[in-house]
Symmetry: none
Subunit: 217 residues, 2 copies
């Protein structure tokens, strides 16, 4: 079974160049489609998400590669994304990793390196250009260099809502929470409804994930 690959890249010339590189291995790799930006890729994935690997550019108009990677890895966790970029600054690397990318290669890598990266990713590894591996280790050694003041979105959850959210995150159901907080199950449900609206989610798991991500709980 061939490896099904999609590409996200706004620049026509580069996109073609990647496709050419992949064609060198067309006994192993099947190029599926290319998105001109994040939105375009997402639209195409909705029609066909039978994809193993996405090669993702970071710099794209409309929706960039990092946001796109985040959405893809939330919606299609089985698809692995490899970031391909000319940049190698720490912030981008860190954000890419946080977004769920499995690897990070420089754009001018040789065709064989890209193939290796793809197979490596599918075998449970993380393909990284050595220089990027080095920088990610630096980040691991010294995590406080990471500016944690990202987003700082204010969801304005009330004290009670946060309490409920904490209980939710423990896997308790409405009745258990109501008993713990000495309020009726109806009220718990109402709180949760309000939490969902404030966090823009529609189920427990997503609420807890988002709350953890934003240090609400």
């Amino acid at each position: 079974m061939k490896i099904k690959v999609a590409i996200a890249e706004d620049n026509d010339f580069l996109a073609t160049s990647f496709e050419e590189k992949l064609k060198l291995f067309d006994n192993q790799i099947e190029f599926k489609f290319r998105g001109k930006n994040g939105n375009d890729l997402l639209k195409k994935l909705e029609e066909n998400h039978n994809i193993d690997i996405i090669l993702m550019d970071i710099e794209m108009p409309e929706m960039d590669g990092i946001l796109t990677t985040e959405i893809v890895s939330q919606k299609y966790p089985q698809i692995k994304t490899i970031i391909l970029t000319i940049f190698d600054d720490e912030e981008k690397i860190f954000k890419s990793i946080q977004s769920g990318a499995i690897g990070y290669l420089l754009k001018d890598e040789k065709p064989i390196t890209i193939l290796n990266g793809i197979t490596m990713a599918l075998e449970g590894g993380a393909p990284m250009s050595p220089i990027i591996a080095y920088k990610s280790l630096e980040l691991l050694r010294n995590p406080n260099r990471i500016s944690l003041e990202n987003s700082k979105e204010d969801f304005a959850l009330s004290k009670r809502e946060i309490e409920v959210l904490e209980q939710l995150s423990q896997g308790l159901d409405y009745n258990e929470i109501s008993e713990n907080l000495f309020i009726s199950p109806s009220t718990v449900r109402k709180h949760i409804e309000n939490i969902y609206k404030k966090l823009h989610v529609n189920n427990k798991m997503k609420a807890v994930k988002k709350a953890l991500k934003h240090n609400i709980i």
Copy 2:
């Protein structure tokens, strides 16, 4: 100028095996000496610290590889240490990186991989076996999982069950998971039922919590 390499390894057989591997490239590499443990290596370094790379075992008597790496990188910051080990658990990887190791390879890597690792390290990169790169990324994504004393319980989840669990953790419902994995919703439910039994839980949140705690996902 040849690359000067030292080895720290208590096991005679393995030490010899490494030396043999290095000899395959004796036009590029010059094997200098071997320490039987951390203390021994340090003593030898005092006599001759004109070394480029140390290949360091972790498991050694008297003084282990992590402590030794820490001392070496403090005392001889110009020397780069590559950890060679059979283990790949997160705690060791993290500690090794903290100790100042520049790379982390599995002991059974092929000779050429070790050579590549050495040159990579000298060129400013960080050699890591893909599986280790993957784990270090996991650490970067979620630093609080470090040193959570993994009880190493074996829940014996199948590969497919773990995939399903990962999707669950993203907040996806049965239908979405079934579409992502190209199986029927019934099958997804069956997998989840089996997961619950194996983890001794009875809902999604608890399953995901337990899986995270035990590094299953």
